[in-house]
Structures are given as C-alpha cells and as structure tokens.
Symmetry: none
C-alpha cells in the first residue's frame, strides 16, 4: 500500500475515534449508537466494522489513545522543567494532570468512567511511550519513600492516592461537587502532602 493510501485509511480511523470520543463523553457510551458515530465521522456504517469490532472495542481505543496522549504530554512538560528533586517533579506532574482535566471536561469524563486497570496496562506497556511512563511511576515512588510506609505498602499507597485524586477531581470538575475544582485543588494537595509527610 502506498503511503498516500495508508494515510487515507488513517484519516477514516481517526475520524471515527474522534467522533466516538466526543459522543461517548457527551452522551455516554450506552446512549451512543454506531450510527451516530459513523454519521459524525462522515463514513459509511460498514466502514466502522473494518476498523473496530464493536462499540466497546472503539471505546478502549479511544481511552488508550487519550490517556497516552495526556500522560505523554505531562511527561514532556515535566521534563522541560528539568526538576532536580523527584518530589517536586511528582508534585508538578500531579498538578499538571489536574489542570489538564479541569480544562477538558470530556477527557475527564472518558478517562474516569472507562480507564480500567487492563487498559492502564495497555498504556503503560506501549512499546514507544511505556518506558517513560514506567520511569515516572518509579520516580514517584522514590519521592514518597519518606512517608513511613514499607515498600509493599508504597505500591498500594500510590494506588490510594490515584483513586482519591481521580474520583475527587471527577466530582469537582464535572459536577462542582462539593465545590469547584479551584476550591478543592488546594485542599486535595494539602491532604496529599499530609499523607506523604
């Protein structure tokens, strides 16, 4: 296949992924039909099945793509700062993610509702960008070593922090509950700091 044709193929696939992302985030996965996706993408219905098995297949692709892009972005931003202290870098990293998600509510919705652990592993094991991601996780763990948690506990603590951050941000960003993210963010960071103290 020529590069040009390859390109045309990618165009269709991307159009479908973009359309699906928007509809899933706005209407919800259940409320979205294949018909709406292909119409929004401007391709024929049959074309959908050339690229994806079904609705949940494209959902996974969407989530992986968006999550990878988000994390990749955060890594690049953090690297640009060239922090010497691992803890500072981790803090910046977290804050950066919160800010991104606060800005893009659709992204927040999609990721929080559909990022399962299996998809997370798909992201982390991506041959291209997985390496950097794993590095970030390691850095993060090293930065919290001083909190009084054992090595084994630390893995779990990271998970607790992620779950806490994720679900609190979701409620705050999407529903302004119990308050807008501007109000919640400092309290959240203060709490994280207390945990890591």
């Amino acid at each position: 296949m020529t590069a040009r044709l390859e390109n045309k193929k990618m165009l269709k696939e991307n159009a479908l992924l973009d359309a699906a992302f928007d509809l899933f985030a706005r209407i919800g996965v259940n409320g979205t039909t294949i018909d709406e996706i292909v119409k929004k993408a401007g391709v024929a219905k049959g074309t959908f099945y050339l690229y994806f098995k079904d609705k949940y297949d494209i959902l996974d692709m969407v989530v992986v793509r968006k999550t990878t892009a988000l994390l990749s972005d955060a890594i690049a931003a953090a690297k640009a700062r060239a922090y010497e202290d691992r803890a500072d870098e981790a803090a910046f990293f977290t804050g950066y993610l919160i800010d991104q998600l606060a800005r893009d509510k659709l992204l927040m919705r999609i990721i929080h509702k559909n990022l399962s652990l299996s998809l997370y592993h798909k992201v982390i094991n991506d041959p291209v960008r997985g390496v950097e991601l794993k590095q970030v996780v390691e850095d993060f763990k090293r930065s919290i070593q001083c909190g009084g948690y054992s090595g084994q506990e630390m893995d779990h603590l990271l998970f607790i922090l992620l779950e806490m951050t994720g679900s609190v941000c979701y409620s705050s960003i999407i529903n302004s509950e119990p308050a807008p993210i501007e109000t919640i963010k400092p309290i959240l960071l203060k709490t994280i700091r207390k945990i890591l103290a």
Copy 2:
C-alpha cells in the same frame, strides 16, 4: 384495602426490588432487562409498571433502600458500643461499613456505581432515619476538628475521605486490585489517621 391485600402488594414490590438488586449488581444496569427482572421476581411484566416507571426508577429505589439499610445498621452497631470518644465512634463506623461491603460484594457494586448525590440526599432526608444519619455526620466532623483544617475545608475533607474510601474499597473488594481488602484496609485506615492527625 385490607391489611392482607396491602401485604400481598408489598410482597410483589419487594420481589421486584430484590430481583432488580441482584441482576443490577451481577449483570449491570444496562445488561439487565425488565423481562429478566419480572421473570426472576415471578410476576407479570405489567406488574412492573404498576410499581415503577422504568429501569432507572427501580434502580433508584434499590439504591436508596440498600443504602438506608446499610447505614441504619451501622448506626445501630455503633450505638450499641456506646463510645465516649467521637473519634473512636467514627473509626468504628468506617470500619464497620468496610467490613459490611467486603462481605456483600453485590451491595458494594450497587452502591458505588449508583449512589449519586441526589439519592444520598434522599437517604439523608428520610423522615424516619435521616435524623440519626445527620447526627453521625456531625459527630464525624467534630471528631476531625483537630486536623488543621478550617470549618469550610472540613466539609470538603469529609467528601475527600468518602471518595477515597469508596473508590479504593470498590477496587479492592471487587477486583482485589491492587490487593485484597484485608491487605488494603490497614493501609487505608493508617492513611486516614495521618490525614486527621
């Protein structure tokens, strides 16, 4: 209407609620059809619409009922202990809830996936048991007054603790991720203690 008839009506409604709870928790709300609910409940299809508007109506009823029962239960257990210290009582309360949810995975699933804030308010404003619930919330807040948070922040902190506990327990109890609840529980409680320190 005679008491006997009234009773028969409640039997049908309860059969529907029980059937719906089980199916929602096992198969998921979307995967469950009205047909399955009525078949499991042993009533005719039309009977469903005698008591509920649609699937989401009965879902709300199920969640409210189960949440109310769970909290009511926890309150009774806490009162039986007659704690003098508010913090001790709050700790027991939290632990009791975790244990209950660990024991009943279906309950964990239903509540975590479907307890919205509006439904929470329905529970808390129940004329019969809402009073006690509000008292528990107040007690909890008083018990964490020493954590270095302002009055306003404290409300938000309670929310953060709830979200953290809820989402971590869900993952741990349902998927044993990142570890079984027996492993996670002490780390979670340790973390809460650090936050409130």
Copy 3:
C-alpha cells in the same frame, strides 16, 4: 332494589358516560383508554365492565344519548314556536341544530365522527321520543315536495342535504375551514333554499 340504590347505580353509569363523552371528543376515541374514563368518572376499573362491554359499547351509548337529547331539544324549541308553515318549521329546525352544534364543539365532533346509520336508527326507533322524530322527518319531506323531485328521489335528497349540512358544518365549526360558521351558515342556507326552490 330500592329507588335509592337504583339511583346510585345510575350515578355511576352517568359519571362514566359523561367522562367518556368528554374524553372521546377531546382526545379522540382511539386515544382514550378505559383507565382514563374510570379515573375521570371516579369509579373503579372493574365497574366499567359492569355497565359496558368495551370502549365502543360506551361510545354508542354516548352518541345515542347526545343525539337524542339534541334532537329532542330542537323539537321542543320548534313546537314552542308553533309554526303553521311546514317549510318555516323545517328551516327553523335546521338553523337551530346548526346553532347548537356551533355552540358545543365537542358535541359536533362526537356526532359527526360517530353517528352511524345504525345508531341513527336506534335514536329514531326509541320508544319514547322516536315518534316525534319520525313526525319531524315526515314534515320535512312534505315541506320540500315542491322542488321537482319525485317521491323516491325526495328520500335521497333529504339524505344529501343532511350529509352536506353535517360535513360542511363540521369543517367550519371545528376548523373554521374554509371560513367560520358565521360566514358559512348564510351561504349554506342560501344553497339549501336554491335546492328546494
């Protein structure tokens, strides 16, 4: 059965007939459910079936009752005038009916859409008021004897006049099409006069 009890029965039946008339005229026969009728009438669903076989049974009753009342009324009004000339009486009779129907659109709707010939015969053969009605018909026929129609033709002409009047009035009264009844009525009467000339 005592008169009092008999009376209570009639109350229910009348409540049902009144409710049905209103709903049929407003929502249409197909759009109306038994449930709505009994709710509006304030009786239990089962009670409906004590008095009527189904929706179309009560519809017939409603139409016969309303048509009989309307014609009875017109006859009484015509008699009160004590016309000497049959043609004058017939003209008054027709005008009276048009005015009544123009005033009561629901009545117009019910009668035009549901007065079949079989129901008309039920009305005309009513043992109590049928005699007067037949007399009116005979009077009418005699009054148009001069129009150049044979005896056989005259029966059919009466029908033509009724159909013309009925369908034109319906459209005019209900939809103001092609113009309001005030505009149409004189043209219609002028036309009838030309036919009978």
Copy 4:
C-alpha cells in the same frame, strides 16, 4: 448509487406503500399494524423505518400518492375530450371522479377518511402536477360564476359542493346508503345543477 440499486430501493418503498394502502382501506388505519404491512410487503420490520417515521407518516404518503394519481388521471381524461365549454369540462371532471371512486372502493375509503386539507395542499402544490390542478380549480370557479354567488361566496360554494359530493358518494359507494351510487349519482348531479343554475 447505481440506477439498479436506486430501482431496488423504490421497489421496497412501493411495496410498503401498496401494502399499507390495501390494509388501511380494508382494515382501517387503527386496525393495521406495522407488522402486517411489512409482512404483506415482504420486507423486514426495520426496512419500514428506513422509509417512514411511523404509521401516520406512510398514511400521508399513501393518500398524497393516490389522490395525485386520481386527479392527474381525471385531468388527462378531460383534456383528451378537448371541451370548449368550461362548464361541460367541469361536469365531465366531476362525473369522471365519481365513476373512478365507484369502481375503486378502497380508493374511496382512503381518500374520504384521510384527505385532510394539509395533505390536499401538498397535492395541489406538487411542483410537477400542481400547476394543472390549480388550473382545473380556476376553470371550475369560472364555470359557476352565473349562480348568483359573489366572488367570495364562490370559494365557499366550491367547498360546499366538494363536501357534499364527497360524503354522499362515500356513503353511497361504500354502504349503498341510502341507495347504490347508480341511483344517487343522477340525483346528486341534478342537485348540483340546481345550485349552479
């Protein structure tokens, strides 16, 4: 799309329209189900919704199609006769329509029961055949100018004549009430002539 495919599409749509026409006329609109229509048309249920919104959508299409064909036909027949006198042409036109409807009872039923004014306007404003139709209406009006009606009244008179003709023919053709159309037709024409005298 190829002409062949386009053709196959039209076949399905036509099959549905034909099936619907027959069922509506025979069983009535309310008595007819989508299921019966698709079964008779030999297409799948989903196909129905590809072409029509619901039962009332296809009903409108059927009525417009049939009415347009009928009038188109009558115009062609009248033109073939090349009448010099407008009144003669109008008389032929009316008679032609009555004969057609007497021959095709289903057509009579569908048109009389479902040709609303809004649909009539759809027919009359058809870009292809609407022009001729409007011409016929104008010719008709000019032909009755001598009846002693003012210009404004004439519009309404045309409506009165149409309503009279339509409802009388319906009863006579469908129910032979008060007599078969062969008997009624001359009386009806005689009456029309008297009105226009």
